[in-house]
C-alpha cells in the first residue's frame, strides 16, 4: 500500500503563473508567461520542451529556488497536502519557516547533475541524515538507520558501507540513486525531478526510470518530471505538458497527446524524432523550420507563430485561449477555435 493516500484531488496546482527576470541593462524578460499545471498523488506529470522554454524555471519556482533577479509576478502555487491546510507557496516569504517546512520535506527535488548538487565534502550518509535531523528531529543514530534503509531501497549495494562514501567515490548512476534517496528522505508528497536521467547512459537511465516508477508505487507521491526527451516521457508519464517559450501549449494524458497531438508545435516535435523503423518504412524527418526566437522577440500572440506552418491572421497578435479538446486534454491554438466559415475562406 502506498504511504500517501491516493485520490483524484490535486495536491499541487499552479495557476496562471508568470515569472519575470529583470536585468539592470536590459528590458525585463518574461521567461514564463502563463503556466497552469496540476499534480495528483501517485501520478507523474512530464513537463517537456526544448532548452529555454521555461520548464526548469517553472520547477524551481515551486520550491522558490529562483535567482534573486527572478520574480513570480502573477499566479499562485497552491499546495494542498490533504491532512493540513492548503498553502499558496507564492505568498510565503523567501526563507520563512513555513516555506522551509515544505521545501525538502513535503516537496523535494532531484537535480540533473548529481555531481554538482551533492556536497563534495560530506559523505552521502551525512547529507541524507541531515534532512531527517532537521525536518523530523531524529537523533543522528536513528537517522542513519533510516538512511541505510533508504539507500538499500534505491538499490545501492552495500548500503551501510556506501553511506560513508563521498560523492566522488560513486559512479554517475549510484550518485543519482543517492540523490533520489535524499529527496525521498522525508517521504515527500511531491517529488520534482529536473532532467534526472539526462546525464546518464541509456542502460543506467532505464534503471533509474524503473526505480522512480517503483518508488512512486511504494510511496504514492506526485511527480513532476522535467525532460526534453519524448522517449522518456512516453516511458514514465501519466500526463504530459508541452512548453514552448514560456507557455504551456498543450496538456493531456500521455496516451491522448502522443496519439493525437493537437498543437502544431507538439506535432512538429513528434515528427522531429526518428522513428524506430526498418529501412523500408523510413520517412525523412520533417524538422521545425527556423530556431526558437529570443524571449524578447517572442510574438505578442502565440509564441510559436514565427515557426508555425499553419499560422494565420490572429496568431501573431492575439494569445490563443486554453481550449479543451477532450477529457483533460487542452491546447492553446487558434486553429482549434477557428470557425468553419473562416476555415473555408
Amino acid at each position: 500500500m502506498p504511504l500517501i493516500p491516493m485520490g483524484d484531488k490535486p495536491i499541487l496546482s499552479i495557476s496562471d503563473m508568470s515569472i519575470v527576470f529583470s536585468s539592470p541593462d536590459e528590458a525585463d524578460i518574461e521567461a514564463v508567461r502563463q503556466v497552469d499545471l496540476t499534480l495528483t498523488p501517485g501520478k507523474t506529470l512530464a513537463l517537456v520542451g526544448e532548452s529555454g522554454c521555461g520548464k526548469s524555471v517553472t520547477a524551481r519556482a515551486v520550491l522558490r529556488l529562483l535567482d534573486k533577479n527572478a520574480d513570480i509576478q502573477r499566479g499562485s502555487i497552491i499546495f494542498a497536502p490533504g491532512d493540513a491546510e492548503a498553502t499558496d507557496i507564492v505568498q510565503l516569504r523567501q526563507d520563512s519557516l513555513p516555506l522551509r517546512a515544505i521545501r525538502g520535506n513535503q516537496i523535494s527535488m532531484i537535480f540533473q547533475e548529481p555531481m554538482s548538487s551533492l556536497s563534495p565534502v560530506h559523505t552521502i550518509g551525512d547529507q541524507i541524515d541531515e534532512m531527517m535531523v532537521i525536518h523530523e528531529g531524529l537523533k543522528p543514530k536513528q537517522a542513519r538507520e533510516r538512511t541505510v534503509a533508504l539507500l538499500d531501497q534505491v538499490g545501492i549495494p552495500g548500503a551501510r558501507e556506501r553511506a560513508d562514501a563521498y560523492p566522488f567515490q560513486l559512479s554517475g548512476g549510484l550518485r543519482q540513486r543517492a540523490m533520489i534517496a535524499m529527496a525521498l528522505a522525508c517521504t515527500p508528497k511531491v517529488l520534482i525531478a529536473d532532467e534526472p536521467t539526462t546525464a546518464l547512459d541509456v542502460t543506467t537511465q532505464a534503471q533509474i526510470l524503473d526505480l522512480l516508477r517503483q518508488l512512486q508505487a511504494d510511496f504514492g507521491m506526485a511527480m513532476l518530471f522535467i525532460t526534453h526527451d519524448l522517449g522518456v516521457v512516453a516511458e514514465i508519464a501519466d500526463e504530459v505538458a508541452v512548453m514552448y517559450l514560456g507557455d504551456v501549449v498543450e496538456q493531456g494524458s500521455v496516451f491522448d497527446v502522443f496519439a493525437a497531438p493537437k498543437h502544431p508545435y507538439t506535432q512538429a516535435l513528434m515528427s522531429s524524432i526518428p522513428k524506430m523503423a526498418r529501412k523500408a518504412d523510413r520517412v525523412r524527418l520533417s524538422p521545425i523550420k527556423g530556431t526558437v526566437p529570443a524571449p524578447r522577440d517572442r510574438p505578442q500572440g502565440c509564441a510559436f507563430t514565427s515557426r508555425c506552418p499553419y499560422a494565420f491572421e490572429p496568431c501573431a497578435t492575439i494569445r490563443p485561449e486554453r481550449t479543451a479538446i477532450g477529457d483533460n486534454h487542452h491546447a492553446r491554438c487558434h486553429l482549434l477555435t477557428r470557425q468553419p466559415a473562416e476555415a473555408a475562406a
Binding site: 526544448e50 532548452s51 538499490g155 559512479s171 548512476g173 549510484l174 547512459d201 541509456v202 542502460t203 543506467t204 537511465q205 532505464a206 534503471q207 526510470l209 524503473d210 526505480l211 517503483q214 526534453h228 526527451d229 519524448l230 522517449g231 522518456v232 516521457v233 512516453a234 516511458e235 508519464a237 500521455v254 496516451f255 502522443f258 496519439a259 512538429a268 516535435l269 513528434m270 515528427s271 522531429s272 524524432i273 526518428p274 522513428k275 524506430m276 523503423a277 526498418r278 529501412k279 523510413r282 525523412r284 524527418l285 520533417s286 524538422p287 521545425i288 530556431t291 526558437v292
Partner: protein
C-alpha cells in the same frame, strides 16, 4: 563498393602512474579493433560513455597516437596509405580527406575568430586557394549548410547551437573531404534542431558523395542514419552488422541490453520492464577476465568467464558478433510493431 579505410588490430593503452610507491598500471582503452569503412556508407559507432568510441575516432585521424595496429586509408587515386605510420608532417595532406565534426559546438569554435576565418582557416593552412577564390569557396560552403552570406563577419557567440554546429560542418566540408567523422555531432542539440542537422548531413552526403563515421550513443538516431553499426563495449567491438539486421535481431547480449534500455517515444510501446539489477560498466582498469561483458550478461556461463570470444561472422552472414553463444541465443530486437503492454 570499395573499401575506403581499414582498421587492423588497433589497440590503444594508457599507462597510469601508480603514485610514489605504487606500480604503474596499464589501462586498455581499445583492444584489437578490426573494421572497414566502405566508400559511400554511413558507419555508426555506438556504445556507452567510456567504451572507447571517441578514442577510436581520434585514433583514425591520428589526433591521438595508437599503441598497436594499423589504420590504412585507401584513396581513390590508388595506393594504400598507412596513416598510423606517418609522421605529423607526412600526414598533413591526408587530413584534407578525413575531417572531423565535434560534439560541442560551443567549445569547438574559436570564440575570437569570425565565422569567415573559422571556415577559411583549413583552406589557408593547406594553401589551397586565396583571395577572391577563397572568399567564394568559404561563402558557398557556408550557404550550403544554411548560414547566410551576410552573417560571415560575426563571431560564434552570435549564433545559436544549431547554427554553430552548421559552421562546424562547413569547416569540415570546405576542404572537400572523402570521409567525415562526426563525433556525437547532434547530441548537444534540441530535437527540432537535431532533425535539421540530420537532414543536412544526409543531403550533404548525397551531394558530395561523402562517407561518414557517425559516433553516437543515441540508437534512435543511429537506426535512422546508419547503414552499418559497430557496437563497442569496454574497448572491444562486440558486434558489427548492417543496421537492419542488428536492430531486427541483435547477436550480442550487450546490443540487446542497449536496445531494451532505449526509450521509445510511444506510450503504447512502453516497456514496463522489471528492475533487473544488471549492474554498471566496470572500470576500464579492472576489466573482467574472459568476455568483457560477462559481469552484466544474463546469459553468461562458465566459458564466458575464462575464454574471450572473438568477433566472427554469424552463419556466414554480414553480421559479426563476439559472443560464444551468438548462434544459439534468440535475442530481442527493437522493431517491435505490436504494443508490448496494454495500458490500463
Amino acid at each position: 563498393m570499395s573499401t575506403l579505410l581499414s582498421v587492423e588490430h588497433l589497440s590503444k593503452h594508457y599507462t597510469l602512474s601508480g603514485g610514489l610507491f605504487g606500480k604503474e598500471r596499464r589501462l586498455d582503452a581499445l583492444t584489437d579493433i578490426n573494421l572497414t569503412v566502405e566508400a559511400g556508407e554511413t558507419l555508426a559507432i555506438v556504445g556507452e560513455s567510456g567504451c572507447g568510441k571517441t578514442t577510436l575516432g581520434r585514433c583514425i585521424i591520428a589526433a591521438q597516437s595508437s599503441s598497436e595496429g594499423r589504420v590504412v586509408y585507401h584513396p581513390k587515386s590508388g595506393g594504400d596509405v598507412e596513416l598510423t605510420a606517418l609522421s605529423k608532417r607526412e600526414i598533413k595532406p591526408w587530413r584534407k580527406d578525413i575531417r572531423m565534426i565535434f560534439q560541442d559546438p560551443m567549445s569547438s569554435l574559436n570564440p575570437n575568430m569570425r565565422v569567415f576565418d573559422i571556415v577559411a582557416e583549413p583552406l589557408r593552412i593547406h594553401k589551397i586557394c586565396k583571395g577572391r577564390e577563397l572568399e567564394e569557396r568559404v561563402i558557398s560552403t557556408l550557404e550550403k549548410v544554411g548560414i547566410p552570406a551576410e552573417a560571415v563577419g560575426r563571431y560564434p557567440h552570435a549564433f545559436s547551437g544549431g547554427q554553430r554546429q552548421r559552421i562546424g560542418i562547413a569547416r569540415a566540408l570546405v576542404l572537400d573531404p572523402k570521409l567525415v567523422i562526426a563525433d556525437e555531432a547532434v547530441s548537444a542539440l534540441d530535437v527540432s534542431i537535431q532533425a535539421q542537422v540530420l537532414n543536412l548531413l544526409e543531403d550533404l552526403k548525397a551531394e558530395f558523395g561523402l562517407t561518414y563515421i557517425f559516433i553516437s550513443h543515441d540508437l534512435g538516431v543511429v537506426n535512422y542514419i546508419a547503414d552499418r553499426v559497430v557496437v563497442m563495449y569496454l574497448g572491444h567491438v562486440v558486434e558489427n552488422a548492417p543496421t537492419e539486421l542488428l536492430f531486427e535481431r541483435p547477436r550480442h547480449p550487450y546490443t540487446e541490453l542497449l536496445l531494451e534500455a532505449l526509450p521509445i517515444a510511444d506510450p503504447l510501446r512502453r516497456k514496463g520492464r522489471k528492475t533487473e539489477a544488471r549492474g554498471e560498466i566496470p572500470y576500464l582498469g579492472n576489466r573482467p577476465v574472459g568476455c568483457p561483458f560477462n559481469t552484466r550478461c544474463k546469459y553468461a556461463e562458465d566459458r564466458c568467464r575464462t575464454e574471450k570470444p572473438a568477433l566472427r561472422s554469424i552463419h556466414g552472414s554480414a553480421q559479426e558478433a563476439a559472443c560464444h553463444f551468438a548462434e544459439q541465443l534468440s535475442l530481442k530486437g527493437a522493431y517491435d510493431d505490436a504494443p508490448t503492454k496494454e495500458f490500463a
